[in-house]
């Protein structure tokens, strides 16, 4: 399958950023393309596949067993991607995303992944999701609230 050869590596890198390990990432991308074999009408451009992988990773994170393992593996953030942004916005690492998937619905989780793990701008997310920039902004506000709420207890904990 040409699309697998062309886009597979990019999608595995993307899933690795979300999950913090390449093994689960390979499994997810492999399963995606196995399913796509059965759908001759599937759209196989990279933005579409990026969304498909994002949603599969989020589903994977919601599973109780996977969640526990991912939290353990990423507890020290050793595999967190480097934050390139100059802004003062708090970096959201894999372990935080795993925790947030319980606090936020699908639409917010997707925006969370694109903004904080994929470094997309609001405009880019809006274009990818077919939503307005204003909607993305509102979702980011909600995400920041959820991040702040999750981090609040830790801030008061002894170091």
């Amino acid at each position: 399958m040409e699309a697998y050869r062309r886009y597979g590596p990019a999608l595995i890198r993307k899933a690795s950023r979300m999950l913090g390990n390449p093994e689960d990432a390979r499994d997810i991308v492999q399963a995606l393309f196995t399913d796509l074999f059965q759908d001759e009408h599937a759209i196989l451009d990279l933005p579409y596949l990026y969304r498909a992988v994002t949603n599969r990773c989020l589903t994977f994170m919601r599973d109780e067993k996977n969640r526990a393992r991912l939290l353990a593996e990423n507890a020290e953030d050793a595999l967190a991607p480097p934050a390139r942004t100059l802004s003062d916005e708090r970096a959201v690492s894999t372990d935080l995303v795993v925790k947030l998937v319980r606090e936020l619905d699908d639409g917010h989780c997707e925006v969370l992944a694109y903004r904080f793990l994929d470094d997309m701008t609001q405009d880019e997310i809006a274009e990818l999701l077919g939503l307005s920039r204003k909607t993305i902004g509102k979702r980011l506000d909600r995400i920041r609230e959820a991040v702040a709420a999750l981090m609040a207890p830790a801030a008061g904990a002894p170091s």
């Binding site: 399958m1 697998y4 050869r5 062309r6 886009y7 597979g8 590596p9 990019a10 595995i12 890198r13 993307k14 950023r17 390979r26 499994d27 991308v29 492999q30 393309f33 196995t34 399913d35 074999f37 059965q38 759908d39 009408h41 599937a42 759209i43 990279l46 933005p47 579409y48 990026y50 969304r51 498909a52 949603n55 599969r56 989020l58 589903t59 919601r62 599973d63 480097p82 934050a83 390139r84 942004t85 100059l86 998937v101 319980r102 619905d105 699908d106 639409g107 694109y114 994929d118 470094d119 997309m120 701008t121 880019e124 990818l128 999701l129 077919g130």
Partner: protein, 237 residues
Amino acid sequence: MTAPLRCTSEPVSWLRLERYHLGELDGELRGVIAAHLAVCPACAACLRRIEEDDGAALPPLTRPAASPSPGSQARVVKLRLARFAPAVGALAVAAAAMLGIGRSWRRGSVDPGAPGIKGGDVSVSLVREDGIPVSDGAAVFRDGERFKVTVTCPPSMHAGFDVVVFDSGGASFPLAPTTSLACGNKVGLGGAFRLTGAEPERVCVVWDESGAPDRARVQRGEPEDRAMRCVDLRPAP
């Protein structure tokens, strides 16, 4: 551990870096990114990571066994929302066309027997008012006929379920969503609904393990991993 490099302005997203690497971006955007990469060590380093990683071996991909011919197996065909990616208006037109008369669309089949729970699978049955399930090969409805929906899903599964009906008028939701279903064999979704009119209908069950499925997203047909099972019904001749 060395401190991560900081971007000189707004970072180039990973998706754009991947598409830049693949040569998929148009001239103007490609030029903007090239100019940024020339002055931003952080983003240039990310592109190098992509280039260095690109030679990594992909896991083998095996083509799944061919699907059995319609009717040879009692199982609901799994369809993804990606099929409904266009806007609802286009979706409705396409659905009407596909549901028309025996086009190449993969028709949903209905389980006439007792499917049982199989390996994490979810199956759906439409049950007529008289308690008789819609059987494969006789997926028709009479104007105004009432139906209930039963779901067979693994007991370990906890999900919210919803029923959506697609026709040329778009998507509609005839039942209240179930926020958390106690899964098992042929578990009924609450309520019943009528199918009216004289055009084909596609009755689908969607579910979401985080709660009730987001109807707005279902209507928009956003492609994603959300699961869905469908049954196609033709008006009775």
